[in-house]
């Protein structure tokens, strides 16, 4: 009897211990970890392998390999190639390159940072860097690297990363907005081949001529895809038309929203006109698809990265790239503002130096060139602006024309939260066809000011 009791007590204790272990063993779940063993590492020379930074201690001094966990939202094969090359160049750093799907990225990243198991280095949209810096979540760039960064990079790509005199990351490519135009549909409409609408009036004119409807009035071809990525369209137009942009930032002050002015009203009224008066797009027309990519929209404003997506289609459309048309009275604003991500290092990383080594490597000219050629992203290193290999690619060459004309996006713009406010105005426009968009813009201004107060108020009291 006693033996039975002892055995059952033993079982219960074991089961309790198991329950406790399950509850307490909160190891972070790694998504698609890419760890390469010695056997798997490339035997040939890596395509990119810059030397370790001069500021680093001799690699042989380090006995234990330092682990750097890097979270990416990209997952493109070229990133893994760069990661493998890094492993070869830095054998004493164990790089764990992990791809997180964008839809889950914010949940995983912020929950992991909250619980102290976040990555050492990760990607962050430039407008979010300020918020994470104020929350003491990012490590500043080593001072010894600053001069090099400022000399080598296009200024507008690093401006949003500079907070209170310190830099907090490397730009992850030069993000910029462009107008993609379908050449075949242009020809069908009798418009000049490979031409670009120069200003808003021409954009409206082109879009009207390129819109097709059937006998019942149902849209069969959008002149300008406004639905798929509306944020790029209204983002670009606001950047161009509002002097100083829709966000005003001064170091040490709460960023200020800048929508409710004549230029802001004019921008949203133009969007209203395009959709409701020119009727160049329709929310009922295959709204869940990228219409430009499948040849159902003649034009689209998007990020430069869209080029790679369009080209990767099974049946790629025949298209060319234009700068986003400018407001008629502001022809100099043709570049708009940058729209890029950054590689940053967590302040709570135990291997900050090693993490910066990886980030520096990932953003080096050699890596950038490799990534740019594979993924058609624009570069941030000035040394690559005249690179013959890059200029030989027609799409990249078109991007290079626009690159120097871009202005910096200021720090602090937010991400999803400000996007929701923009989308509210856009949704009112396409759902309600308002007579006057001014009240909506005023509401946007109020909401954005409250948002910035909420986000930054306590840090700038």
């Amino acid at each position: 009897m006693n033996r039975n009791i002892s055995f059952m007590v033993f079982l219960v204790v074991i089961s309790l211990a198991a329950v406790l272990l399950i509850g307490c063993g909160a190891e972070p779940v790694k998504e698609q970890p890419v760890t390469v063993t010695a056997e798997e590492q490339p035997t040939s020379e890596p395509t990119v392998a810059p030397e370790p930074a001069e500021t680093e201690p001799a690699q042989s001094d380090v006995v234990e390999p330092q682990t750097v966990r890097y979270w990416s939202i990209s997952g493109e094969p070229y990133e893994e190639e760069v990661a493998n090359a890094f492993r070869t160049s830095y054998p004493d750093i164990n790089l764990e390159y992990e791809v997180i799907a964008y839809d889950a990225y914010w949940d995983k990243l912020n929950a992991a940072l909250e619980s102290g198991v976040g990555p050492d280095a990760f990607m962050l949209p430039s407008p979010l860097v300020l918020e994470y810096v104020l929350r003491e979540q990012l490590a500043p760039l080593p001072d010894s690297w600053v001069e090099e960064l400022e000399q080598e990079r296009l200024t507008w790509t690093i401006t949003p990363l500079k907070i209170d005199g310190k830099y907090y990351g490397f730009p992850a490519g030069a993000g910029m907005r462009i107008l993609l135009v379908n050449d075949d549909l242009l020809a069908e409409a009798g418009l000049e081949p490979e031409s670009c609408p120069k200003d808003w009036n021409e954009l409206s004119d082109y879009a009207r001529k390129l819109t097709r409807r059937d006998a019942d009035g149902n849209m069969t071809q959008a002149g300008l895809d406004m639905i798929s990525q509306a944020y790029h369209l209204y983002g670009a137009l606001m950047d161009q038309n509002i002097p100083g942009g829709p966000l005003l930032y001064t170091d040490g002050e709460i960023p200020k929203a800048n929508y409710a002015n004549e230029d802001g009203y004019e921008t949203w009224e133009f969007i209203n006109q395009l959709y409701n008066k020119d009727r160049v797009d329709d929310m009922m027309f295959i709204p869940d698809q990228y219409r430009f990519q499948i040849g159902k929209a003649a034009m689209m404003v998007s990020g430069f990265y869209q080029v790679a997506y369009v080209l990767s289609e099974e049946i790629p459309v025949n298209f060319h790239i234009c700068p986003v048309p400018t407001p008629p009275d502001k022809p100099d604003s043709r570049g708009g503002r940058g729209d890029q991500w950054a590689y940053v290092v967590s302040a709570s990383s135990e291997n900050i130096k090693a993490a910066w080594d990886w980030v520096n490597y990932f953003a080096s000219p050699e890596s950038e060139k490799s990534i740019s050629l594979s993924g058609y992203t624009m570069v941030t290193n000035k040394s690559l602006l005249n690179d013959p290999d890059l200029l030989a690619e027609s799409f990249l060459a078109a991007g290079f024309d626009i690159l120097p004309q871009i202005e910096a996006v200021p720090p602090g713009g937010g991400w999803d939260d400000i996007w929701y406010l923009h989308e509210t105005v856009w949704e009112h426009i396409y759902l309600e066809a308002p007579e006057d968009t001014r009240p909506l813009v005023d509401e946007l201004q109020k909401g954005a000011d409250e948002l910035y107060q909420e986000k930054y108020g306590e840090y700038y009291r």
Binding site: M8, V9, V12, S15, L16, V19, L20, G23, Y102, D103, W106, D107, L109, N110, A111, L113, E114, G118, E131, Y132, R135, E136, Q137, N218, I227, S228, Q229, A230, Y231, M283, M284, F285, I286, P287, D288, D416, D417, W419, Y420, E423, T424, E427, H428, L431, E454, E458
Partner: protein, 321 residues
């Protein structure tokens, strides 16, 4: 007889009675075993349910930027701000609209189907039960995406079918007037099978004698349903309604997946499908204001608690057989 037993029992309990209480050591051992057997469930309950609940309440008293080191105690400030938060109020309204629009048709349809499937004359009952239950065990993610395509305004199957009846294409998920309705339709389709099973189990408990007697008395099928089935099924109905209310108050996955996407915020258009749990998620994980999100979750907890208490009171009532 009973009185005599009670008297003897009470006499035996007097101090000094010759009938002693069970030996202390045996009682202790019984208690020990009871605790040992309860322990796994208790540990699970405390660590997985109680602790997070209390923790959420604790977090709700702070300004808690998700991921940041510094958290500031703000007392009930997060709660005090809720009545002035238009999005929170909108989310409550949407949640109750969803619950109202979902529960009534869900109950009527699932009860009706259960009654039909319970009839001995219905052929292929097993097949139908299986068919109705498949959506319950299917992935909500897959269901949401499939229905999103069915609702697609220009090429979706639903608008195509409506075209046969000369009905113009509806914008479904694209318009505030139809977006919540679309989600309700999908939710009913997905969860109805579960309620059918519960109702079927309830119907099995009603003795056939009642129906036989009613037939002898000349009651038709409709009268049998009204006078026998519905009254005797009322405990099951209360249970199903309560479960559906709780489920409706916590709706998230379908709304998040059907109304959101890479290019449009979930809960739209114009926040017409922003439910309470979606609001909690957006505030806590997208706006990184965990304290405010926790405050909303505590409010939701109390709403569900009240509903559960009402259900417990109702289910305690005796039902006439």
């Amino acid at each position: 007889m009973i009185d005599a037993f009670r008297e003897r029992l009470s006499r035996n309990r007097r101090p000094g009675s010759h009938i002693t209480r069970p030996p202390r050591s045996l009682r202790q051992r019984q208690n020990l075993w009871a605790w040992i057997f309860l322990a796994p469930a208790l540990v699970f309950f405390v660590t997985v349910l109680m602790y997070p609940t209390l923790r959420a309440f604790y977090i709700s008293l702070f300004r808690w930027p998700l991921g940041a080191e510094v958290k500031t105690f703000v007392g009930i400030e997060n709660y005090a701000a809720l009545p002035h938060d238009a999005l929170f109020l909108k989310s409550i309204k949407n949640t109750f609209l969803f619950a109202a629009g979902f529960i009534a048709p869900e109950i009527v349809l699932s009860m009706g189907l259960a009654i039909l499937l319970n009839r001995k004359t219905t052929r292929l009952r097993g097949l139908f039960r299986l068919a109705f239950f498949i959506p319950v065990v299917s992935s909500s993610v897959a269901i949401s995406f499939v229905w999103k395509w069915l609702f697609e305004p220009s090429q979706g199957l639903i608008n195509y079918l409506l075209g046969f009846f000369q009905i113009s294409p509806l914008p479904w998920l694209m318009h505030p007037k139809t977006a919540l309705l679309s989600v309700i339709i999908v939710t009913i389709w997905q969860t109805m099978g579960f309620d059918v099973v519960i109702f079927s189990a309830g119907l099995q408990t009603i003795p056939n004698d009642f129906y036989d007697a009613a037939k002898v008395d000349g009651a038709n099928a409709w009268q049998q349903i009204l006078r026998i089935t519905l009254p005797l099924l009322s405990p099951t109905t209360v249970l199903v309604i309560t479960m559906d209310i709780i489920w409706a108050l916590q709706v998230f996955t379908t709304v998040y997946l059907m109304t959101g996407g890479g290019t449009s915020p979930p809960g739209g258009p114009l926040n017409s499908t922003r439910t309470m749990v979606l609001h909690i998620y957006q505030v806590a994980f997208r706006s990184l204001r965990l304290g405010e999100g926790a405050a909303v979750s505590v409010v939701l907890f109390f709403i569900i608690l009240i509903v559960t208490i009402i259900q417990m009171r109702l289910s305690r009532k005796s039902f006439e057989y």
